[in-house]
Amino acid sequence: MTDIQTRIRTYAQRFQSGAQPRARELSPHLKALEAEAIHIMREVAAEFERPVMLYSIGKDSTVMLHLAMKAFFPSRPPFPFLHIDSLWEFQAMGEFRDALSEALGLDMIVWVNEEGKQREINPFTDGSALHTQVMRTEGLLQALNDGRYDAAFGGGRRDEEKSRAKERVFSFRNAAHAWDPRNQRPELWRTYNTRIRKGESIRVFPLSNWTEVDIWQYILEEDIPIVPLYFAGERPVVERDGTLIMVDDERMVFEDGETPEMRKIRFRTLGCYPLTGAVESEAETLDDIVLEMLTARTSERAGRLIDFDEAGSMEKKKREGYF
């Protein structure tokens, strides 16, 4: 058994009935954020017929999953989890996902856009935009239609990006999964309007009011396992246009003159390995990461290549159904 598998096993024991309660008291603001997220999840479980929780394997998603484990305890979360697999994630992510869902006994659906797979969409040769569109956005829409889900949890935070700052916690989507920023339902108190017609759905963002600092502090205080790639280690990388790309498997396409070199790197955000930039770092523990982040000077999305175009690009993607 690998280290991370052992770590996840130990973690899962926490949610067994009769397990020893954790002594650590959460910071007051995290306790408030946690209670808010739990409240939101319970509303969804009570009011929707077919909810699903999107699981991207990243840290925010893993925090959301942890909150779901807590929200329904001693029951298991009363909905499946859904991972939209682009086939180009880091290998360590797949291992983490499988170990976590097995240890926690989750209903984990892994969806691949078969049409994209047939077409052998490749981020190196087809470009990031097409790859993301086909394998992520279209894959997501297929999976949501296939499951006939009426509510889908996402781990989006309002501090990530400007268009998200205005999005509701319960964000209405029409039958084509599109978001209409001009016509959002007013959202008052903690009373969420969950009414939809057939075919329409709601995206729910329980982490809306969390910041990146909150997420890391919560992971630290709650001792939540995360994919080891978040921690610094010697890994093979090439530097391309100022971005460090990790050589994760044999599908890596090298450009002229590129040879991989070992550097001590880590990732601040995870996704498809050809599209995710690493940072050089010495942060080997959670404490190191938090300290590095508290003194950081670049925001986390700077490492995500798909957001690098115009400032309004996320808004456009969301209108098309992207989370």
Binding site: K31, R42, P186, L188, V213, L294
Partner: protein, 632 residues
Amino acid sequence: MADDAIRAEVAERLTRAGENGVLRVITCGSVDDGKSTLIGRLLYDSKLLFEDQIKVLERDSRKHGTAGEEIDFALLLDGLEAEREQGITIDVAYRFFNTEKRKFIVADTPGHEQYTRNMATGASTADLAIILVDARKGVLTQTKRHTYIANMMGIRHAVLAVNKMDLVEHSRARFHEIVSEYLTIAEDLGFATITPIPISARYGDNIFSRSDAMKWHDGPTLMEHLERVDTNTEKEAAYAFRFPVQWVNRPNLDFRGFSGTVASGAVAPGDDVVVAHSGKAAKISRVVTADGDLETASAGDAVTLVLDREIDIARGDMLADPQQRPEVSDQFAAEILWMTEEEMLPGRSYLLKAGGQVSPVSVTTLKHKLNVNSFEKEPGKSLKLNEIGVCTLSTSRPIAFDPYKDQRETGSFILIDRFTNQTVGAGMIEFSLRRASNIHTHAMDVDKARRADMKGQKPAVLWFTGLSGAGKSTIANLVERKLAEAGRHTYSLDGDNVRHGLNKDLGFTDVDRVENIRRIGEVAKLFVDAGLIVTCSFISPFRSERQMVRELVDEAEFIEIFVDAPLEVCMQRDPKGLYKKAQAGEIKNFTGFDSPYEAPESAEIHLKTGDLSAEDAAERVIETLIERGFIG
């Protein structure tokens, strides 16, 4: 750095960041008052901006900015592309920053009158309102509006931030002049504290650091005040125990718990609680969380409660302190803020949602409207977008609640349109008009079933809806004749016998049309109770009202018959000459002409009278009645 040193530094920084929990703040004011600049300044000074964000900000400042070569902080906030170009903030945006003592959630809402609903949305969860005033302009109409709305929404702390002090030479006299004017409007409202602070958002004076130019200011800086003011949760913790049940937690036969968030007060194992609606009592046996059982849970805690005995509890029920129970009533008075284009009409049926409680509801009377700028009472018949009114409401099922001024969480509700599913209104409950428990329907020895049995039929409402001239009355008349010939007991309601008597006080405005149908519905209900088959022929253009009548009688008793003829056909027939008059402008609000008709989406019977004779149409109605077992 050694491991221990790192751990110590992280612990130090993080613990301090969480000491005083979360404060939710709303900023009120317009772009001109420097609202966005203030929030941008808070983010910048709390060192929350990353280099790449600052770079984007500098780029955007050159492209769209209004601060010349300097950074335009306002651009950090105006999120959506179109808004940025128009230079106005049109929705509620949420911003976050932390200081050493607290996490802050800032709702940034627009200031103009047409965005009252957005402000109310942001205010609904806020602990504190920053009311911005431009020192050059002083207290304006909008300052009053923001103050009244903040107060109405239950915000306890007001900060009067007099901005742009640099443009009035940091004048102490000017500041005091504005403060005393402000206090005359705000002092007697419900705020726990009102704190005036002279600031300059652009230069950061009295925001994080004290202003050298305004040494005369002896009060706190904005941040000092925000870091230590108490939150709503602290107030809620002191109120009586309330626990709206969200979800019944039942993993197996050995465990049955009730999951929810404590709305107010506190609870511990051994405490007595009652279910608000049923009055059934039990003791708390466990307070369960994934982190182990708790010795006590208080306002804001998300927990699962286990009781010492099995009593009937479902989502929508509220557990409460038996000594201080909430009101349970189906009639109450509330302030309503209307949030949609289509106006609120008394008598129309909406859905009310209060926590997990959902019930059909109608506004019985609009007592008066409140002018959002002066909060003076004004008469009115309906509420338009962004208008506020004091109303009495009547729900189909009793609702458990507390007065909003005492407890926001259990005193608030939203109204939902039953067809568009939009959130159309926000309500703050003032008081109960009667206790639901005091109403007992007198049980009669001869009931509906007995009356119907005597007539050998099942009662029903045959509701004919459609445009004027579609053939409603003609078909209804034929149907009634066929029923009478078969020995059935019937009655027929139409415009002629209702408008001249029962409803002769009503005209044809939307408000009156709703009331017209409500009364007809009630009369039809009485006839159904008498065991009759009632035919009703009314244009009844609104879905909501037809739905309302449907709900007055039992599920299967309402047969909606859509008499569907194209408008051109109706205009051609024009049996009463009404279309001609409408065309000549002699009749206003004529359905299909200058007033809308909302066609049924799933009528029990759909008669296309363009190519169906009245006789055949009537026959189809009779067939349906036989199929459904109304007549043998």
